[in-house]
């Protein structure tokens, strides 16, 4: 398989925080259309790996390629959508201004149209001119989702997207993610909420103290018993 046919390819990735190796020798090939649940205990290195994939932090050793290109290249970044712990939207701007800003930065042909479309899809159209400062937590998270999906990225990197959301907000997010899967987008998401994640995932990657303990398809056992994975692959 050529490099360009692999959505996210990590080869021998190490990351050190001082002397401590937060990631050790990660080898990973995620194909287009796969939805990977990135699991692991606290401190396993999920956030670290996702940030390197997103180009927000550099790997100590090894490289990550997205569709065969380095992550920091402009063209690559245009194809990647990131949703981190923070929501990355501006409190002093309105919902529509936030989306318009990112639409422009991503060089969309018609930032306004995309922005309105995504406001509608996340159920925020009534609040489009409200300042984000006045939004409730659920509304903010929805807007953050809209921002991450705005430029219709081929690869989506999500860090604990379900945390602290209520059932309704989770439903919106799951719906958006499911649609993205249907459209053939690649998704990598870290989470501790195994049920929600495994429900959606086609593949599972398990990090164990910075090492990749398991990478493969999500099997029916996992779905039936969420403890199964940790019992089998985590020491």
């Amino acid at each position: 398989m050529t490099d360009a046919a692999i959505a996210v390819a990590a080869s021998a990735v190490w990351k050190f925080h001082g002397d401590y190796p937060a990631l050790r020798d990660i080898e990973l090939s995620i194909l287009p259309g796969q939805c990977v649940a990135l699991l692991g205990r606290n401190g396993a290195g999920k956030t670290t790996l996702l940030r390197i994939m997103a180009g927000l932090s550099s790997a100590g050793r090894g490289t990550i390629r997205i569709f065969g290109n380095p992550v920091r290249e402009r063209e690559t970044r245009r194809r990647v959508g990131v949703l981190g712990h923070g929501i990355s939207i501006y409190d002093e701007l309105s919902a529509i201004e936030n989306l318009r800003l990112f639409g422009r930065l991503y060089g969309l042909a018609n930032p306004d149209r995309s922005a309105n479309e995504w406001l509608e899809r996340t159920g925020l159209d009534r609040a489009r001119n409200g300042l984000v400062r006045e939004f409730s937590r659920g509304m903010r998270q929805r807007l953050a989702v809209a921002r991450a999906f705005l430029h219709e990225p081929d690869v989506l990197l999500l860090d604990e997207p379900f945390t602290a959301l209520d059932d309704r907000a989770i439903a919106v997010l799951q719906d958006v993610l499911r649609r993205a899967r249907e459209q053939g987008r690649t998704i990598v998401m870290s989470t501790h909420q195994l049920r929600e994640a495994l429900d959606l995932a086609s593949h599972v990657a398990l990090l164990n103290r910075g090492k990749l303990g398991y990478f493969g398809e999500r099997t029916p056992e996992m779905l039936a018993d969420t403890g199964w994975l940790y019992r089998h692959y985590d020491v």
Partner: protein, 226 residues
């Protein structure tokens, strides 16, 4: 000119957010007033002495009040981890830097423009005799300040002691620029033209700007990625 358009988008975003809350500009303006006040009763010079001191006084005020604006440049991105989204977006680090520097420059310049008449009134000094040369000096020195300040704002944005580190790193670096600005401003406020003797300082200012602007544009990418 995609690069320039992106810079302008960033600058416009910063200015819009600032205009909505007006916090940085209001704060730096009132801080400038507070410092003028502090200085006035700490030192109590006569009018002639004051003219000679004016450059030093003004630029110290600008340096302190300006640090507040520059501190906000990247601090503005902290609350919701917005910086991550900007770094992840497909724009060059240099474009991001330039956009932010532009916005800060405008804010700084406005603050300084307001300070001049206030200073003139409080210390009873006519400062308009050499208006345009004075503006030139102001623009040059402010740009130098902006470039260094913006760079260090990016550098210190994730530090625990952000508010302290910025001035600590910036002021010592700024000394050549400040020194030149102080001499030139004192000269011009006193109504004397830019004679060859002080043109040395002008050249220093221009050189300073060129060197640090290029350095900043080259290094900003590594600063942002950390």
């Amino acid at each position: 000119m995609n690069f320039l358009r992106q810079s302008l988008t960033i600058a416009a975003k910063d200015l819009r957010a600032e205009l909505r809350t007006k916090e940085a500009i209001q704060a730096s303006l009132s801080f400038a007033l507070v410092i003028l006040l502090l200085f006035s009763f700490s030192f109590d010079p006569s009018e002639d002495e004051m003219r000679a001191l004016s450059g030093g006084l003004l630029w110290i005020v600008f340096a302190f009040a300006g640090a507040l604006i520059l501190n906000r440049t990247f601090a503005r991105e902290i609350p919701n981890d917005c910086l991550d989204a900007l770094v992840a977006a497909p724009i060059a680090g240099a474009a991001l830097f330039l956009g932010k520097a532009l916005a800060s420059f405008i804010l700084l310049f406005v603050m300084e423009l307001v300070c001049f008449p206030v200073f003139g009134i409080f210390y009873n000094i006519g400062w308009t005799a050499q208006f345009w040369p004075l503006m030139l000096v102001l623009v040059l020195a402010t740009w130098g300040f902006t470039v260094i300040g913006t760079t260090f704002s990016a550098l210190t944005v994730n530090m625990r002691l952000r508010e302290i580190m910025l001035p600590l790193l910036v002021y010592p670096l700024m000394i050549p620029c400040l020194l030149a600005a102080i001499r030139l401003t004192s000269q011009l406020v006193a109504g004397q033209p830019l004679d060859p003797e002080v043109m040395v300082w002008m050249r220093l200012l221009v050189g300073f700007n060129i060197i640090f602007t290029s350095l900043a544009l080259v290094l900003v990418e590594s600063v942002l990625l950390g």
